[in-house]
């Protein structure tokens, strides 16, 4: 009696049970794709403030129904959009921008603070083309902000920003990062407006 051995539990079906669980989780869950381009919409005001923007401070981008680009009334390839936007934002035409490295052409923007990019799309424009353009314009801003952030704080703006937005960052560090992010944003404010899509 005291020496009776306990029979071993068979582990042969363990794999089946685990497979069953695995398949359950494969079916009921999705891999999250929650990343994207952040935008602020303009508030809905019945009385639009009348802003007088000089033509040279405007960078007009239009997208037609085939997803073709018209930039400053010239057709353009998507690949050229980013350098063109950077050249426009970084122009510093009136010499008031000490950190700009642009060509200071009189026909382009005066100062990054005044430079406005407008994006106009057609109702038939494919969403993919619109996102591609938004991506290139964001890329232009990010390139300039990264350059200034590297010069001032020794690392890229996008890096600082993602650390600032990370909920695990300690609050003390966050306060420093917030100032850095705000400082860089002030140098190259994102002034991207969207006209309502054209109707036919």
């Amino acid at each position: 009696m005291p020496n009776r051995s306990i029979p071993e539990v068979s582990a042969g079906s363990m794999a089946d049970i685990a497979f069953l669980l695995l398949i359950f989780f494969l079916v009921t869950t999705t891999i999250e794709t929650d990343a994207g381009l952040d935008r602020m919409l303009p508030p809905d005001e019945t009385q639009q403030p009348i802003v007088d923007i000089r033509q040279k401070n405007l960078f007009q981008v239009a997208l037609n129904r085939e997803g073709q680009l018209l930039v400053e009334e010239q057709p353009m390839d998507l690949a050229e959009l980013r350098p063109a936007a950077i050249a426009f934002l970084d122009n510093g035409g009136d010499g008031s921008c000490a950190y700009c490295q642009g060509l200071q052409e009189a026909s382009s923007s005066d100062n990054p603070n005044k430079a406005v990019i407008t994006l106009k799309s057609d109702r038939e424009t494919p969403y993919g083309a619109y996102i591609a353009v938004q991506n290139e314009l964001t890329g232009a801003y990010n390139a300039l902000r990264n350059r200034e952030a590297r010069a001032r704080y020794g690392r890229a703006y996008t890096e600082i920003e993602s650390e600032y937005l990370n909920p695990q960052t300690p609050p003390a560090l966050k306060a420093i990062l917030r100032e850095q992010v705000a400082g860089i944003r002030e140098l190259y404010p994102m002034k991207l407006t969207e006209a309502e899509t054209a109707r036919h």
């Binding site: 929650d34 990343a35 994207g36 381009l37 993602s162 899509t197």
Partner: protein
């Protein structure tokens, strides 16, 4: 020589399956950690466009989702093949977006109501007309923070 004759019997030794449960459990834990539960089943095609300059949306409780795309094949008979809006588990018109946002906003905790983001999960084949109508509706209910959800990738691939 006699030593080696044994192998000529032709019997392959059985492969041990003792570690199989461990392997499967490893896979299971992998999927449990990297995925999240679906909270609404998709009724529209949702191939998101690619973008490279993306920011991560972190907290799920601060996000309201709007899906746009062609109805999937099983719904095409009743709803046609034009891109439609899906809110929660229903197809909806543009006019319903505002009410939906207000409803969802009211469900969230008080302190989160001002920091909500609207995640737009739009199929890349959809046209901008519908998107700009949705944006007008969002502006009406003062939901101004929008995230165009995309996959990470080369934006030039969207044009093909």
């Amino acid at each position: 020589m006699a030593k080696f004759n044994k192998k000529k019997d032709g019997d392959l030794p059985a492969v041990s399956t003792a570690s199989l449960p461990d392997i499967v459990f490893m896979l299971l834990f992998f999927f449990m950690t990297v995925t999240t539960m679906k909270d609404s089943s998709l009724m529209v095609e949702n191939t998101l466009p690619n973008a490279s300059e993306i920011k991560k949306l972190d907290k799920k409780d601060r996000v309201i989702y709007i899906f746009v795309g062609k109805p999937t094949s099983q719904y095409q008979k009743t709803f046609g093949s034009e891109p439609r809006i899906q809110l929660n588990d229903k197809f909806a018109g543009v006019g319903d977006v505002g009410d939906y946002i207000l409803q969802e906003r009211a469900k969230k905790a008080q302190e989160l109501q001002n920091v909500l983001t609207i995640a737009m999960k739009v199929d890349k084949e959809a046209s901008m007309g519908l998107i700009s109508d949705i944006k007008q509706e969002l502006r009406k209910v003062n939901a101004l923070k929008v995230n165009y959800t995309t996959y990470e990738g080369d934006a030039f691939r969207n044009l093909q």
